[in-house]
Symmetry: C2
Subunit: 357 residues, 2 copies
């Protein structure tokens, strides 16, 4: 484990993105999105992903100088074609379209096709906050998750993020995979050689397993709920809604056709759409009631929940976004720790392209 400052990793990421052909402004946005994951503790979606993006670019599956554009629109909606760009760059473009639509029509809703992995969902949702808007960010992803009663991998971990502004209190920011546990958590257990809890994974035959290698060995992650008795059909429905809003609405690939994130797996030769898909929403709070009223009630909501009586052994009730914000504060002063394999991977990448880590 080594620790790096934000500036150090930002500069490295920015310079690497320039090396693979990103225009300056895209390198800045891409580095900002990626680093926000490291700062907020979603380490699996931060700089650790950079070499994966580079390999996809080397295979011609990512276009680092894309012509991102709106291809269809109404007063409150748009479809954005990402032109095979980095999702890190396509997503903020599309979210800005949603915010612009909302500033005129009250709300804005943008479905995106022909994109790639977009980093953490929460970054894009949170873009709405400074405009006194509620932000929503969804994306589909490579299939790793089985629907209830199926042994096939048909869905990604398809996250949902919703960011809601408050007044004196920090904003409410939910950012969650629609599975019981994110794949990143499983990978941590794998590295430690530890078992996973029941309800996270099934094996390749569709039987419940506690092996943290279950997914690697051909099994699948389970939808939020774990099994039917504990509501996995709800997690499956949520993941499906994310898939449909992101890809069936836009014309991207959906379900098992979503192209794999890893460069060594080839996309389906008969795609049903273009690239992967995202979905963004922005709602002006004053399209419903005066913003100061809304935000002061949000403060009240947050205070009431945060001060709720706790269950035995727990110190406090958290508001969605609390843990990530606290970690962000901590890492601002203390730096970002990276695991040795990640440091090695980034160093080798930098050497190959002449960029110093």
């Amino acid at each position: 484990m080594s620790t790096f400052s934000y500036e150090q990793l930002y500069k490295f990421t920015h310079d690497m993105l320039l090396k693979i052909g990103c225009p300056e402004v895209h390198a800045q946005i891409g580095a900002d999105v990626l680093l926000s994951a490291d700062m907020r503790g979603v380490d699996s979606h931060g700089v650790a992903r950079l070499s994966g993006y580079v390999r996809l670019w080397e295979k011609g599956r990512i276009n680092t100088n894309p012509n991102i554009k709106v291809v269809h629109e109404t007063p409150s909606t748009a479809v954005v074609d990402g032109d095979k760009g980095l999702g890190l760059v396509v997503a903020p473009y599309a979210m800005n379209v949603a915010i612009e639509k909302a500033s005129k029509a009250g709300t804005g809703w943008v479905s995106v096709k022909n994109s790639n992995h977009y980093g953490i969902a929460g970054y894009h949702a949170m873009m709405a906050l400074e405009h006194d808007m509620i932000g929503i960010s969804l994306t589909n992803a490579s299939p790793l998750v089985s629907p209830t009663f199926s042994k096939e991998r048909l869905l990604g971990t398809n996250p949902i993020s919703v960011a809601i502004p408050a007044d004196q209190e920090p904003p409410f920011v939910a950012d969650m995979a629609t599975t019981t546990a994110a794949n990143g958590k499983l990978e941590i257990l794998q590295r430690k050689g530890e078992d996973a809890p029941q309800g996270w994974v099934q094996d390749k035959d569709g039987n419940s397993t506690t092996s943290s290698n279950g997914v690697k060995d051909g099994g699948a992650l389970l939808p939020l709920g774990g099994d039917r008795e504990h509501g996995s059909h709800k997690g499956y429905a949520l993941g499906s809604i994310v898939d449909i809003f992101s890809a069936v609405l836009s014309g991207a690939n959906y379900g098992p056709w979503v192209p794999p994130f890893v460069a060594f797996l080839e996309p389906d030769p008969n795609p049903v759409g273009e690239g992967i898909g995202h979905f963004f929403g922005a709602m002006r709070v004053d399209a419903f009631r005066p913003a100061n009223e809304f935000k002061s009630h949000m403060d009240n909501w947050i205070k009431r929940f945060r001060s709720a009586e706790t269950t035995p052994g727990n110190e406090k009730v958290l508001i969605p976004g609390d843990p990530e914000r606290e970690l962000e504060e901590y890492r601002k002063t203390n730096g970002i720790p990276l695991l040795d394999p990640v440091v090695k991977d980034l160093s080798e990448l930098g050497q190959r392209f002449g960029v110093k880590l």
Copy 2:
């Protein structure tokens, strides 16, 4: 157990609603919403609720001749004041506003205050389908659910329903409480004297329990996920989002302030808003891409998922909405079975008001 025809229960409900002062058109809508729950197998939200509504009316908490109106709007949004009306009637009004907005602006989003229990979430979402729109329906509800790490009941079972049109295939219709299990399922176990699975309920001290009387005895339902290790913070976040969209946006009561559904419990003397809240959305699919393209891809999505390989012991993979639709078909020919206590309750209600069951 006795079985009744749709027509019989519809007429009874309709006539009862007239007796308590609903105008004819409201009696028709209210009966239609309530009966659709019985037809779709959500028995806890059907005619079994009728005497509860009547008791709330008797207490002056439901206004059966409300002046429902839009009190704030933008091209794609509105706030509806339900004037203390039956949610069964307020909700379709608000959903129609969302549909009208969508027909012009591409999408429509309506937050509702000053309403009451609205029946099954799915009814309202499904209103969008015939317009080739995606329908969304959320509501908050009396607090029965504890956030992760809390022993207080701060949220309702706050359901999410999303209805998505297809072409030849039946529509995709998700309709789910944001808890591991709906309260209705727990009540069934109570009646049978059976235990509940782990992860459904906690006791009044916040400890996990398998007692199906846990909620009755002062405990709480658990958010989808059950416990932190299985993602209950995600179910808690989803229930919170439903609460905020339904009530903080509109000016209804939220969290622990939501008035209880049962007439023998008094609402909080210091409310933070008016009545309970709902949230509706309608998105024209052709605000994103041509409707025929969208619907034919939905057919493809549905067929692929429905034909997925199954896990051991399971016959087929279900699409959200399949079980409810199949039951609806069955009950059309075979009638609606009602438990003896429900029949007794309705008979007594009818006698009191001179309406024949």
